[in-house]
């Protein structure tokens, strides 16, 4: 079994974490946007 370089593992975790945060923020943004669109669309009817 290959040894995993600690520096590599730290960088891997850092990138995973930053990608997860970015993805979370994008999804949260879409949730807010779809909620606002729904309210506007319902209000227009």
């Amino acid at each position: 079994m290959n040894q995993v370089d600690p520096e590599h593992e730290a960088e891997l975790n850092r990138r995973r974490k930053s990608r997860n945060i970015a993805m979370g923020l994008v999804l949260a943004g879409f949730v807010v946007l779809f909620y606002a669109i729904t309210i506007v669309r319902i209000g227009a009817q």
């Binding site: 370089d5 960088e11 891997l12 990138r15 930053s18 990608r19 993805m23 669109i37 506007v40 669309r41």
Partner: protein
Amino acid sequence: MVGLFKEQIMTSATLQQQLPADWRDFLALTKPGVMRLVIFTGLCGLLAAPGSINPVLGFTAVLCIAMGAGGSAVLNMWWEADIDAKMKRTANRPLPTGRIARRDARDFGIALSVAAVLIMGVAVNWLAAGILAIATVYYAVIYTMWLKPRTPQNIVIGGGAGAFPPMIGWVAVTNDITAMPILLFAIIFMWTPPHFWALALFVKSDYAKAGIPMLPVVAGEKVTRQQILLYSVILLPLTIAPWAIGGTSWLYGISAAVLSTVFLGFAVKVAFRERGDDDTMKPEKQLFAYSIVYLFVLFGVLVADRVLAAQGMIG
């Protein structure tokens, strides 16, 4: 023992490949610099259109235009990764350097493009969504995959893709295609060739190295300079046309006439010269720089004109 050691210690290149891509690399794939102009012209189309749109839906429309442009750009970079690797200007992009896997880029581009069209359709209107879908297919498939590597008129054809955003912004408000959004499309369509050919004249060697049939490479500088002048001549009456058909007031009409005459002046300087020894290509660089300012100011004045007219401050 040495073999085992080699297996255990990963090289930096292997590490680079095995690490997941950074979110900034995905953002870079969407060409944020190009997106700025797309967002601006799309927003101008939206603001200049007659009638009104709810701010939330207006924001959504512009977001979808940006997502569509971003998705197209990602698909463009996915398809052209090999070409990008050969050009100094593009060799450091995420795909040629291996920071992102090609399959990931393709999936990201498709997801972004499809989501943009669906959200536009559901939230705003399906006519705007349809034009956005056409713009995406036009840029990512017809231009990037088919015509760009085959014809020196690639810039003229590619300009069509960049011309869609103000039309989409306009249709997002009106849900109708009239002469004005078609004119806005035509203005950017005619503006693109002199803008990019000015750039191609001073980065000519890079395109030649990548095998892209850019006009200066295939037809020579003289023809390119003539074509720059031709499109700039057509651009002048075209930018005044919105005023001529009664779509704007004198404010836009006079501004467009002045801005386009200056544009033509720069184009004339480029058209009637030849490259000398140790040429700094100053007129070409000036035309390229002015063309960017020109488009921002022209569309900015269009919006100002329509906003002032809506408030009854001008006729």
